[in-house]
């Protein structure tokens, strides 16, 4: 196990390095100037600005300088937010995004798994059709439509919850629901299919024969085996939820990472683009590892090893 983890971590660092390098060069291919006032600056003024930020250097030199800084933990200073280190920009905005993502993940997974299990247990009844309908709607309605409808009816028309902003827990309820619709549908769909398959396997028949109640059979014996494919999908989904959704953050005016990341690409804020990419990639790679470890916990038949034996 230890050897396996070490090997995995080395590969993770390599992957991260490749992602950083590719993003760096791709980003520099986008035409345009990162200076907001570029249109108003004279050529000599702009040349002096570029020299100040090291943008006048050849690309390979910029790259090596950047990599050297990253290794020392320095992600640079934002162009669009003058004077602000990228680490501050990310840490200042990751809170709301991560919190919404986590809440949506917890709520979405639990509710989705529940829907899937119910659907499988009551296969081909109206309950099953109902839970499938919710799953299909959740997958097919674009989140900006769903979020906008939630905001309009629950907040503007009924006035039950705040329209937007980020001032307390009640402000997170609507965006959480809007975000969780996707994990709900994913979890429900996978869960139902897997559950049906598992429920028809021999050991379930045995459990039933031994007199276990159907509740016990479903949640104690079947659920664990049916969870494996769900965990595979939910891992990466968790990362994308926690790193912020552009649409939901925009509609509910949440000061999160998703919005900031997209804006930084639009205005060519190089250090912020790179910093955010590094964070997302690192999180993603880490979660993939966690998912693999989780496998062995959920299903003892899966053994993690270095690949020998």
């Amino acid at each position: 196990m230890g050897k396996y983890l070490l090997q995995r971590i080395l590969f993770m660092l390599l992957t991260l390095f490749i992602i950083i390098s590719i993003t760096f060069f791709l980003m520099k291919l986008i035409p345009g100037s990162p200076f907001a006032a570029a249109a108003k600056l004279s050529e000599s003024q702009r040349a002096i600005m570029e020299a100040k930020y090291g943008l006048d250097q050849p690309l390979p030199i910029q790259y090596f300088r950047y990599m050297a800084n990253v290794i020392q933990g320095d992600l640079g200073i934002s162009f669009q937010f003058s004077n602000t280190p990228v680490t501050d920009l990310i840490s200042g905005r990751i809170g709301p995004s991560a919190m919404l993502g986590l809440q949506a993940m917890i709520f979405g997974t639990i509710f989705g798994i529940f829907l899937g299990v119910i659907g499988a247990l009551k296969q081909n009844t109206w309950i099953d059709s109902g839970s499938t309908l919710i799953a299909v709607l959740g997958k097919s309605i674009p989140s900006f439509v769903f979020a906008a409808l939630l905001q309009y009816f629950i907040a503007v028309k009924l006035g039950w919850l705040p329209v937007a902003f980020w001032r307390g827990w009640e402000y997170s309820i609507l965006p959480t629901i809007a975000l969780s619709i996707f994990p709900i549908s994913i979890a429900a769909r996978f869960m139902r299919t897997e559950m049906i398959e598992v429920l028809s396997s021999d050991y379930i028949v045995l459990a039933r024969a031994k007199g276990a109640s159907s509740f016990e059979v479903a949640f104690k014996h079947a659920l664990r085996n049916a969870l494996i494919p769900v965990v595979t999908v939910l891992g990466p989904l968790a990362v994308s939820l926690m790193t912020g959704s552009l649409v939901v953050e925009k509609i509910f005016a949440i000061p999160g990472l998703g919005e900031q990341f997209v804006t930084s690409i639009n205005v060519l804020d190089y250090p912020v683009i790179m910093g955010t990419t590094i964070l997302f990639a690192a999180l993603f790679i880490f979660i993939v590892l966690v998912v693999d470890v989780l496998y062995s916990i959920i299903d003892p038949r899966i053994r993690l090893s270095g690949g020998e034996n």
Partner: protein, 563 residues
């Protein structure tokens, strides 16, 4: 039981996480805010609470006056800080930190400002002439990364260019502290709008001792800033903060005329969300409405509108052979029905522009007549004339087909506008093919600079209250010309305006009007399309809402809240 305890653990974990998220100081704050939102506490008082809630479209990018280059930063500075002058509701520059109008020498090149005795920083220190000299020199230091410093000072303040480009000693800048309260500014040439330039935040003072003491932390949050304006930033954690507040500055020299106690700002990027939070009573002033939302508020007493001095036009790149022909240019310029564009596609109160210097922007210094009055409309939509010019142009070129690349923006409004214009041109001018390319803003700027386009949809908003803000765009080889336009007559008229008539504001103004005539009537150098209208929702209990044409967008301190 087992299930319940799991739930309990989850909820506990969540609540710990929650406290972390809204953590510390903010948690207390949000409790206070919640009761404020309900208005429960305030409504028992007889007077309306002097609190205002406003939407901005972005967080504050910068609070260091020399680094700022965007409207939201400038607007914040305009309300929590102050320069020698400020703009009032009539778009006039009025003395602020300056104790009355400055003394000006005979050539109009040396301004002597006296600073108000009672002007103080929020740490109690007086605002001195030295503070201005320090801030300006700092903005010109190539190492500082200021873009608006060199942009606004080069060519205007004596010595600015030498300091920024040639590494001259900062003391060579023509801004000198004669004594503690007297600032002497030497200009490279007379500038008739110089006092309005002094309202621009880049020219605000900074307290040297404080800036140096804060070092890299300076201006990164509310605590590492000094204020000398009507408000102070009360709660601002830096550029990542999506919500910030002003509190009244009791030390401000004119504090008795400021009635607002608190202003709360929220970052909202989605225009529909802005309107929704306004409709549900959570904010008093929205950001500018996007054009799709305007029609539903037409006639609403809370809709405040004004014509912005921002013009959109199509640039014609004269390195293209066809576009070198003046008849072709005139034909293109006169074949677009602009009225239909503003009425049906934009539908936000914007008006067709048949000019290159906006309407309701500047007036004649002697007669007070609008810039537009002398020249009126030029290059109006006239299909007959356009077709004639087209035929003549084609004949001179010896061809019957012309193919042009049209470079446009990638926003929704830009795409609709560009498609309309391309369609009008192709339909109205036989043998013309337009190839539309929609690109992001930064790409368009780069292609503008390398003249990599034939036609380009672009816009311009001014930085100072003077027609020259628009006129000097089109000087031969000018920094923003980028379309190979060159007219000796135009250049001469601008040179006259800037030197010969530098001290005769009336004649100078007329020379610029004449130049506009040359630009459009004689040369048809650009195709003016429309002048934009701003639309914003302001709750009717808010009085004296004040907007500006250049630099900072709004002043909040004149506002009071009625019942």
């Amino acid at each position: 039981m087992k299930k319940y305890s799991l739930l309990l653990v989850l909820m506990l974990a969540l609540s710990v996480f929650l406290t972390a998220c809204f953590g510390g100081e903010d948690a207390d704050e949000s409790a206070g805010d919640a009761s404020g939102d309900d208005n429960a506490a305030e409504e028992t008082e007889s007077d309306a609470p002097q609190e205002l809630r406003v939407i901005e479209t972005s967080a504050i990018p910068a609070m260091d006056t020399m680094l700022a280059s965007d409207t939201i930063s400038f607007t914040t500075m305009n309300n929590v800080m102050e320069g020698l002058f400020r703009l009032n509701a009539d778009q006039e520059a009025v003395p602020a930190l300056a104790d009355g109008e400055p003394e000006v020498n005979e050539d109009g090149t040396v301004y002597t400002f006296t600073i108000k005795e009672d002007a103080v920083w929020s740490n109690g220190e007086p605002v001195t002439a030295e503070d201005f000299v320090f801030a300006w020199q700092r903005a010109l230091d190539p190492e500082s990364g200021s873009s608006y410093g060199p942009y606004l000072m080069e060519g205007k303040i004596a010595g600015a260019s030498a300091v920024f480009n040639d590494g001259a000693d900062p003391s060579e800048l023509g801004a000198v502290a004669v004594d503690e309260k007297t600032l002497e500014v030497t200009l490279e040439k007379p500038i008739s709008y110089f006092t309005s330039l002094m309202a621009f935040p880049t020219f605000y003072p900074q307290n040297q001792a404080f800036v140096e003491e804060q070092g890299e932390d300076f201006a990164t949050n509310a605590a590492t800033l000094l204020y000398n304006g009507p408000f102070v930033l009360d709660n601002w954690d830096g550029s990542t903060d999506g919500e910030w507040t002003y509190a009244k500055n009791e030390e401000y020299w004119d504090a008795e005329n400021v009635s607002l106690e608190k202003v709360t700002f929220n970052e909202v990027k989605d225009p529909q969300t802005a309107v929704n939070s306004y409709e549900s009573g959570e904010v008093d002033i929205t950001s500018k409405l996007s054009s799709a939302l305007v029609p539903q508020y037409e006639g609403d007493p809370n809709l405040v509108t004004w014509l912005e001095p921002t013009i959109f036009w199509v640039k014609m790149n004269q390195t293209n052979e066809a576009l070198q022909n003046v008849n072709i240019r005139k034909a293109l310029a006169m074949s677009i029905d602009k009225q239909a564009l503003t009425d049906n596609i934009l539908n936000n109160g914007s008006i067709p522009a048949n000019y290159a210097v906006p309407k309701e922007f500047v007036t004649h210094p002697d007669t007070d007549a609008d810039f537009r009055e002398a020249n009126g409309d030029m290059l109006e939509y006239d299909l007959e004339a356009a077709k004639e010019f087209w035929a003549t142009g084609l004949e001179e070129l010896g061809t019957d087909t012309v193919e042009l690349r049209y470079l446009g923006g990638d926003t929704d409004t830009a795409k609709l506008t560009d498609e309309y214009i391309a369609e009008q041109l192709e339909t109205n001018l036989e043998g013309l093919t337009i190839n539309l390319e929609s690109v992001p803003f930064s790409v368009r700027l780069e292609r503008d600079e390398s003249l990599d386009y034939d036609l380009q949809f672009a816009g311009w908003g001014p930085d100072y209250l003077d027609p020259i803000s628009f006129s000097d765009l089109w000087i031969t080889d000018g920094g923003n010309n980028h379309m190979a336009f060159s007219s000796e007559e135009y250049d001469k008229l601008l040179k006259d305006a800037e030197s010969t008539f530098a001290n005769e504001p009336g004649k100078r103004f007329e020379a610029l009007q004449q130049a506009e005539k040359v630009l459009l009537e004689d040369e048809a150098a650009i195709i003016p399309i429309y002048q934009r209208q701003a639309n914003i929702l302001v709750n009717e209990k808010v009085s004296d809402f004040t907007y500006h044409f250049v630099g900072p967008e709004y002043s909040f301190f004149p506002i009071s809240i009625g019942e």
